[in-house]
Amino acid sequence: MKNIEVKICSGTTCFVMGSSFLSELYEIIPQKYGDRVTVKPSLCLGQCSNSDKHSKAPYVKIDEEYISEATIEKVLNILDKKVCGNE
């Protein structure tokens, strides 16, 4: 099975809007999914640059999909579905 890649944005906007509260994902994801999912921080994903888009931060990228207003629960829900093949 293909490895799923999670990138947590550490750009200025995402950090200011609360991405540090996603940092638990760095522990939860390897624990829960082992080597099926990799998670790492990323430079600005570029999602906030349009006007008003800062209010949808923080952003997380899962493979090619961008998640806005990301929370730990939101990310784990999507990963559960992906890992089980129920997208």
């Binding site: 550490s10 750009g11 200025t12 906007t13 950090f15 200011v16 809007m17 609360g18 540090s20 509260f21 940092s23 430079l43 600005c44 906030c48 640059s49 006007s51 008003d52 800062h54 209010s55």
Partner: protein, 482 residues
């Protein structure tokens, strides 16, 4: 302290829009349109009764961000007028906090309350538990007489069904000194005679009704008009942004600051002086000494805890020392303290070497509004190097361990006691130490108003774990104090 609630998110959203408006071609009208951009026609009404109230509260938040009090507003005054006035003023407001009465829910008064879960059981444990005769059984259910109830909570503990609860008013509950309470309309009012400006009410209010009056416009105006604006940031700020402090410096220079200093450098002066003072005091036979760098604690001493004054170190705060140094280097500059703390606004107002205060989230809003990517900035060195101990001042235990590390007299042994957060109980504890003229647990009392220290401050961005991780990375590369 929760710095990730939705109400704080909205505050940051508004600040970012305000910064964008400030640097746009028409600050006044772009500021006035923020409530309409955030809640456009037919938009969802997420929190309040209607879109008009949502916009009105956003307007009030902007007025606070422009630096004005919201209490006793002339409601006919337009947002445009406030924006204009914010550019013209040269005097700061006196009190740092303001309550947005329209945002205040008017929570039900704090009391002990019997819920519908009451089964009217045979045990009558609640009635028996009450020492004041306030609980009776009426109509097959337990009833509390508010005139007799002393709020002791014994009935809550006794109920086998968990049917009795304590209704709380979050701001009143969080205030360590009873300075915020409801007026006759049920709206929160701050008594500034009592308020120690700790900011706990700002952080806990679920409706975001308590706001700081920002000085962001004053700082931005200085930058925009080409004045030398010099920043000094608290040790806790190092953990509030991605990247390292060398990238943070270049990000701040890009944002228009003329130079940047670490308050950790001033902390090194505090540590040296306080270690010397501690040694002297112990040799004189004093029972204990408390630290003196926490602004919330200093306000507490001034207004509520005069008894402890003689035990408090006379050493000045890190901010005091660094501001003195910065003023010497740049006599004509506008100086700005970057703070994780609401209480520091009071200290700054009393120190002529510092002109303004910006919070972590206000500085963050400037970075976002100016599209500055800290992680992609080059690293720039500081004029002076700060020590590992000075850079750790923002975490609980950091100050006392720094002082202890420099107490080298063979006859003196520093035993730190940590007061990790001011609340009604720890205030009582401190009072007891002072009245008893004795601290059984040790002799060097470190007082931090916020739990976790300044990284748990009420104007922070990052969660404490992340802040600690970033600061620890810095500590590993820093030298010990000598």
């Amino acid at each position: 302290m929760n710095n990730n609630s939705q109400s704080i998110f909205i505050k940051k959203d508004i600040l970012i829009r305000l910064v964008e408006a400030f640097f746009s071609d028409d600050f006044i009208s772009n500021t006035a349109s923020i409530p309409f951009k955030m809640r456009p026609k037919n938009a969802e009404v997420p929190y309040r009764c209607c879109i008009y109230k949502e916009r009105e509260i956003i307007k009030d938040r902007i007025i606070a961000d422009l630096g004005f009090s919201v209490e006793n507003l002339d409601e006919s005054e337009r947002l445009e007028d406030f924006a204009k006035k914010s550019l013209e003023r040269d005097k700061k407001e006196e009190t740092p906090l303001t309550v947005i009465d329209a945002a205040c829910k008017g929570c039900v008064p704090s009391r002990v309350y019997v819920t519908d879960l009451c089964q009217g059981c045979v045990a009558r444990a609640c009635e028996k538990s009450c020492k004041f005769g306030a609980v009776t059984i009426e109509g097959g259910r337990s009833y509390i007489d508010g005139n007799k109830c002393k709020n002791c909570g014994m009935c809550i503990k006794s109920c086998p069904y968990n049917a009795i609860v304590r209704l709380i008013v979050p701001c009143e509950q969080a205030c360590p000194v009873g300075a915020i309470s409801k007026n006759s309309n049920g709206i929160a009012v701050i008594d500034f005679e009592k308020c120690i400006t700790c900011g706990k009410c700002v952080a806990v209010c679920p409706f975001g009704a308590v706001n700081e009056k920002s000085q962001i416009i004053d700082v931005l105006q200085g930058i925009k008009t080409g004045k030398k604006v010099v920043a000094m940031f608290a040790p806790a700020i190092a953990g509030q942004f991605p990247g390292n402090i060398y990238q943070l410096k270049s990000a701040m220079l890009k944002a228009g600051f003329y130079d940047v200093f670490e308050v950790a450098q001033g902390a090194d002066v505090t540590t040296r002086n306080e270690a010397k003072e501690f040694t002297e005091r112990m040799k004189e036979g004093k029972p204990f000494m408390t630290t003196s760098c926490c602004a919330g604690y200093n306000n507490l001493i001034k207004k509520h805890l005069a008894e402890i004054k003689t035990f408090v170190s006379d050493t000045k705060t890190p901010l005091f020392y660094i501001a003195e140094i910065v003023r010497k280097i740049y006599p004509d500059a506008i100086t700005v303290f970057i703070s994780p703390c609401v209480a520091k606004r009071v200290e700054v107002a009393e120190n002529e070497n510092i002109d303004y205060v910006l919070n972590a989230d206000e500085l963050g809003a400037i970075f976002v509004g100016r599209k500055i990517e800290i992680m992609e900035m080059p690293e720039i060195e500081y004029q002076f190097n700060s020590s590992k101990q000075g850079r750790n001042y923002g975490s609980t235990g950091g100050v006392s361990s720094a002082v202890k590390s420099l107490v080298k007299d063979n006859d003196v042994n520093a035993v730190p006691v940590i007061i990790d957060g001011l609340n009604k109980d720890s205030v009582k504890q401190l009072k007891k130490y002072a009245v008893d003229n004795c601290c059984p647990e040790g002799n060097l009392i470190e007082v931090m108003c916020c739990e976790g220290g300044c990284i748990g401050g009420n104007s922070t961005i990052a969660n404490q774990k992340t802040a600690k991780r970033i600061i620890n990375n810095l500590l590993e590369k820093s030298e010990d104090i000598v």
